[in-house]
């Protein structure tokens, strides 16, 4: 632990020394020139930031272009497969294997009954439901029991245990599961009726260890939740589809992920040491060489935070959790030959988690400073405009591919205008706190029962 802290501060000190050295070299150059030192130093720093932002913009445009291209190729591949698919193994009613649905629930009393009832409606002949009450302090257990006691054909087991976190609850579900396949979901999630049928087909390929589902926002009631709906559509239709083309989805979402039970057991289930256990598990599967597919037709409807502070709480946890998971597998960052595509996946996650929020924040501060000091406000406008154009193009593409509500495209402007500025600040603080090793709690979101 002490060594880790030392190493962290050592690298920070090394970075500081590097910056001071560069500034020191520039100082000798500056002294030889005419004019005020402070003015020249300011110009030097502004030029350095300009070059950095230019490089960031190039990476960002490449990122959008590559993701759109790969996601489109994945879309075409899916369409081609539909036309020329051989008779599938997992399509006959009699050959469909048993699936265990594991529903971890902590204080989900408001939504748990609706969630279980929606599971009973799933179109699949052979499945069981296991609800793990993770020591809820509300009436989750009692409410789940009420539904389990109602007459139906699907076996439901309700298990209660001491509160030990979601990872532990999912591991308990894994241990109790009777099925050859396990579908892990959240207690506040509603699944589309065809989820099990469309997910199970991917396992005909023996290299596929898990399938990630498509997550959509159900409570599109105000601007916060509508922008999140667009974010989810973009994140899934573009990023996850592109990753699916490479069979390397980097996060199997908590609300919907199906696994081979044997694979879950092979990697030891979920670990407790991160706040993004789904991301950590996905990375573990990828490091073991398993392929992870994405199924756009398996939809999990989730309730997103509709208040700003709840949203910040969620994003804070996600950011720190993803950084923790990336840090756990950081050995692959420096082994491109050994880790293969996983190396690039980790760099991509670091770009999204650290470089992107820091860069947009630096860009905003830089252009605001230049705008106020030199009266070049139009530069800020063009900076904002080019980012917004990228967002709108990506949103339009994703809305078309996902056959979503076209009005969501308009929210791309609001997304860039204020939403992402606020979220990025929270991400930057979360990154700094993670780096400094601040303690954190799970941060359970209050549910409103919109399912």
């Amino acid at each position: 632990m002490a060594l880790k802290t030392f190493s962290r501060y050592f690298w920070a000190a090394a970075a500081l020394v590097a910056v001071v050295t560069i500034l020191g070299f520039s100082y000798s150059a500056v002294r030889k020139t005419q004019g005020s030192f402070s003015v020249l130093l300011e110009n030097f720093v502004l030029s350095a930031v300009s070059f950095y932002l230019l490089a960031f913009l190039v990476i960002l445009i490449l990122r959008y272009a590559i993701l759109v291209m790969y996601s489109f190729m994945d879309h075409m591949e899916t369409l081609m497969k539909k036309r020329s698919a051989p008779p599938p193994k997992y399509r006959e009613e009699t050959t469909l294997p048993m699936v265990s649905l594991v529903v971890p629930a902590y204080n989900e009393g408001v939504v748990i009954q609706a969630a279980i009832r929606s599971l009973l409606q799933l179109d699949y002949p052979n499945f069981e439901i296991i609800v793990i009450d993770d020591g809820s302090t509300d009436d989750t257990y009692e409410k789940a029991l009420e539904v389990a006691r109602e007459p139906h054909d699907i076996p439901i087991r309700i298990v209660t245990k001491r509160n030990a976190g979601k990872a532990e609850a999912l591991n308990t579900g894994m241990a109790l599961a009777l099925g050859e396949f396990i579908l892990n979901m959240d207690g506040d999630t509603k699944l589309s009726g065809n989820t099990l049928r469309v997910c199970i087909r991917h396992f005909e390929d023996p290299r596929v260890g898990a399938v990630a589902g498509n997550v959509k926002v159900i409570n599109r009631e105000n601007i916060w939740s509508r922008i999140q709906a667009l974010e989810y559509v973009e994140g899934l239709a573009m990023a996850r589809k592109a990753q699916s083309f490479m069979r390397s989805v980097n996060i199997i979402p908590g609300p919907l992920g199906m696994f081979r039970k044997s694979v879950l057991q092979q990697v030891g289930g979920y670990d407790h040491d991160t706040f993004a256990e789904d991301c950590d598990l996905t990375l573990k599967l990828l490091m073991r060489g398993w392929h992870i597919a994405y199924e756009p037709n398996a939809i999990a409807w989730v309730e997103t935070p509709s208040r700003l502070l709840d949203l910040l709480k969620q994003r804070y946890r996600w950011t720190r959790g993803i950084l923790q998971a990336t840090s756990k597998h950081s050995h692959a960052l420096w082994q491109p030959r050994k880790a293969g595509i996983n190396c690039y996946i980790l760099w991509y996650m670091l770009f999204e988690g650290i470089m992107w929020p820091f860069s947009t924040l630096i860009g905003n501060i830089f252009f605001v400073y230049v705008g106020i000091t030199y009266g070049l406000v139009t530069l800020l406008f063009f900076w904002w405009m080019q980012l917004t154009i990228l967002d709108v193009i990506a949103a339009a593409y994703c809305v078309v591919i996902e056959e979503e509500d076209p009005s969501l495209i308009l929210y791309a402007v609001a997304f860039r205008l204020f939403y992402i500025n606020i979220i990025d600040i929270s991400k930057v603080f979360a990154t700094i706190e993670e780096w400094r090793g601040h303690t954190m709690t799970w941060g359970k979101l209050e549910r409103e029962g919109k399912l």
Binding site: G135, T137, D138, R162, L308, L309, L312, K313, Y316, L361, N364, I365, F367, V368, G371, I372, V377, T378, L380, F381, W384, L417, F418, N421, I422, I423, D424, I425, S426, F429, T441, G443, K444
Partner: protein
């Protein structure tokens, strides 16, 4: 003032405003988390440390048998 300048001023004001709101909202969220820990339900099965004792480990004693035992002891004591 042309359209670009007007839009640029709007973006400038919005960017400064959202950055201030972003920092304020982050501090508010941290403050709220510190002030309001998760409410615990008053639960009879929790012990002093807040841990739940498994009910099946507690020996069950029927109320009637306790009462009859007390009654059988009472005349002797009196």
């Amino acid at each position: 003032m042309d359209l670009v300048s007007i839009l640029a001023t709007v973006i400038l004001v919005t960017t400064i405003g959202t950055m201030i709101i972003g920092v304020g909202a982050y501090m508010a969220f941290k403050l709220r988390d510190k002030r309001k820990p998760n409410k615990k339900r008053s639960d009879d099965t929790l012990d002093a440390a807040g841990l739940r004792d498994a009910i099946f480990l507690t020996p069950y004693v029927h109320e009637g048998s306790v009462r009859s035992e007390a009654e059988s002891i009472a005349p002797t004591a009196g």
